[in-house]
């Protein structure tokens, strides 16, 4: 499948990665090459085969529904690019 610039622009937007307009043609060409490689999968007969969900058959363990951690505000915020008054700070989200 060939990916056009519009699709490349849409994918970049979905991925929340800013891509300049002039970079879109090259990006679209790369996507087309990779997706062309992936197209080989269409040769495989997968009728009746369930998509794998876990490589090792296992039931995920459960634990008691109790508090095991917490009260670490300073540690949680220690690496934040912008933390104020005990919160993560971000640009205005709603007008």
């Amino acid at each position: 499948m060939s990916i056009d610039e519009g699709t490349a622009r849409r994918v970049a937007k979905l991925a929340r990665i800013k891509v300049e307009e002039e970079a879109l043609p090259a990006l679209a060409a790369e996507f087309s090459a990779i997706l062309g490689f992936i197209e080989q999968l269409n040769e495989v007969d997968v009728d009746g085969i369930e998509p794998m969900t876990s490589v090792t058959p296992q039931r995920l363990k459960r634990r008691e529904d109790v508090v095991t951690d917490g009260s670490q505000q300073a540690a949680v915020l220690a690496n934040a690019p912008d933390a104020r008054e005990g919160f993560f700070a971000v640009p205005k989200v709603v007008e």
Partner: protein
């Protein structure tokens, strides 16, 4: 002093126990070697103060009843979160990030007495096969045959270079599609990716969670057994880590493989495989046969679809995992223009922080998961993955104990050689290793020969799930037969 850094973990352990050397001496020797090896760009964050404190503590505890890795200096891949020490996954988006916590693997290594020398170079977010996507610049292979600088492989390129150059006694790696085994083969060392679930992923920066496993990269098979032992085991903080006993891997190394059945998959005989790789493979099969194993031809009919399935599943999982790098909680945030809102913050931060290959894979993953394509790409790839695993299940059910293949399609190539190639050419490096991640199996790379230029080549053994002990024993037999002892000549 430099001789000390050449010791294997097992030899250093014996010397420590006999009192012939102290961990402080071993650690100082490694730190000196590291400082003299900046040209390899293997260690990207050096931690000499931590190392010397851990070494002195190990010496103070003594070695009479010491834990397995007591006083042993190791390097740690930058993908592992280490408390208070930069842990960047070789990405600019995590510049300045110092975790407030310790990964389970490094905690277990420290509990076993290990000494951390520093953090090791790698491909950004473990996405790459040549260590050329790192924000720290390329790691360099200590092996050299002419003026060119060669890749140590990737993504665990710094780990491979550091072990091969005797900067540390062993190192941690991680392997999502071959990132332990390919660099091990490119540098003439041993590396094992254990069964999925053997080692906790907690505190390791996630790439593709259903494929990622950590493992050791060491100078020989025995050292891999010792290190893997310390890294393994159930962790309540990783719900996919298996709650089953960890056997004594070192005790499994008898070298006796009589009666074992070794499978040779015909689908791995690719067109264009160099004759010397074919010969290496045939020689390896002969060594195992001479050691008393039965060598049989097997078929893994879906093997050729492993790479395309991987390049759907791994980017899909990466696009999800890397969504957390948003400039809010840790790492880099882009400078914003007046009027920029939160979407601009995300988009600019991720454009600045992620390198080209990471951006490409996140976007491919986003595409294959997007509405309208999820079934055609992602679900189809997961179905093919089930078939790839079934091929292995059938081989093992037919009595095969382990499968022998080449580790890589070539010896190490030059840094920069693939710059102009399309991404798929680089992806082909993982053609022999990636099936193992998709099937969740243990796989070990062992150096067994050299190519005509004088560069190391490795073979891969693939084992049954949870049978790392048996697998390492077969690898041990191969190691004893191959007698690969060559070391890179020091030029750095």
């Amino acid at each position: 002093m430099s001789e000390l850094t050449k010791l294997t973990i097992s030899a250093a352990r014996d010397a420590l126990r006999k009192g012939e050397v102290t961990s402080a001496q071993l650690t100082e020797a490694c730190l000196t070697a590291i400082d003299g090896a900046d040209a390899l760009n293997a260690f990207v964050h050096k931690t000499p103060e931590i190392a010397m404190a851990q070494a002195k503590a190990a010496d103070a505890r003594g070695y009479a009843d010491a834990a397995a890795l007591s006083g042993i200096p190791l390097g740690i891949k930058d993908l592992f979160c280490t408390k208070g020490v930069p842990s960047q996954a070789a990405s600019n988006i995590l510049k300045g990030f110092k975790p407030e916590y310790e990964s389970t693997v490094t905690s277990q290594l420290f509990d076993a007495g290990a000494v951390m020398l520093g953090k090791l170079n790698m491909d950004e977010f473990a996405m790459g096969s040549s260590n050329e996507t790192s924000c720290y610049g390329d790691a360099v292979n200590p092996w050299k045959v002419d003026d060119r600088k060669l890749t140590p492989g990737g993504s665990s390129g710094g780990s491979a270079a550091a072990v091969a150059a005797d900067l540390c006694l062993g190192a941690t790696g991680t392997d999502t599609g071959g990132s332990i085994r390919q660099p091990a083969a490119f540098t003439g060392i041993t590396g094992i990716k254990p069964t999925y679930g053997r080692v906790s992923r907690w505190g390791i920066v996630a790439f593709a969670s259903s494929l990622d496993q950590a493992g050791p990269m060491t100078k020989d098979v025995r050292d891999s057994a010792i290190m893997l032992q310390a890294m393994s085991g159930h962790d309540p903080k990783d719900s996919t880590s298996a709650d089953i006993p960890v056997p004594d891997f070192e005790a499994a190394l008898t070298g006796d493989i009589r009666g074992k059945t070794i499978g040779i998959p015909k689908e791995y005989r690719l067109d264009g495989t160099p004759a010397e790789i074919e010969k290496l493979w045939n020689d390896g099969a002969a060594m195992l046969r001479d050691a008393g194993a039965k060598v049989v031809d097997i078929s893994l009919p879906h093997a050729k679809y492993a790479l395309p399935a991987y390049y759907v599943i791994a980017p899909a999982e990466a696009s999800s995992n890397l969504a957390r790098f948003d400039g809010v909680r840790f790492g880099h945030r882009a400078k914003l223009a007046a009027g920029d809102g939160i979407t601009e913050m995300y988009e600019k931060t991720r454009a600045e922080g992620f390198g080209h290959e990471v951006q490409r894979r996140v976007m491919v993953g986003t595409y294959v998961l997007s509405a309208g394509f999820y079934d055609a790409y992602y679900n189809r790839a997961r179905r093919v993955r089930a078939l790839i695993k079934r091929d292995f299940d059938q081989a093992f059910a037919a009595g095969v104990d382990a499968i022998l293949t080449p580790a890589t399609p070539s010896a190490a190539f030059g840094l920069g050689d693939m710059t102009e190639a399309d991404p798929i050419q680089m992806y082909l490096n993982d053609v022999f290793t990636v099936t193992v991640n998709l099937a969740g199996l243990p796989g070990v790379a062992v150096p067994t020969g050299m190519d005509a230029q004088g560069l190391p080549l490795g073979l891969q053994l693939i084992g049954r799930p949870w049978e790392e002990g048996d697998l390492l024993n077969i690898a041990y037999s191969l190691e004893q037969s191959a007698q690969f002892v060559a070391k890179p000549a020091k030029w750095w």
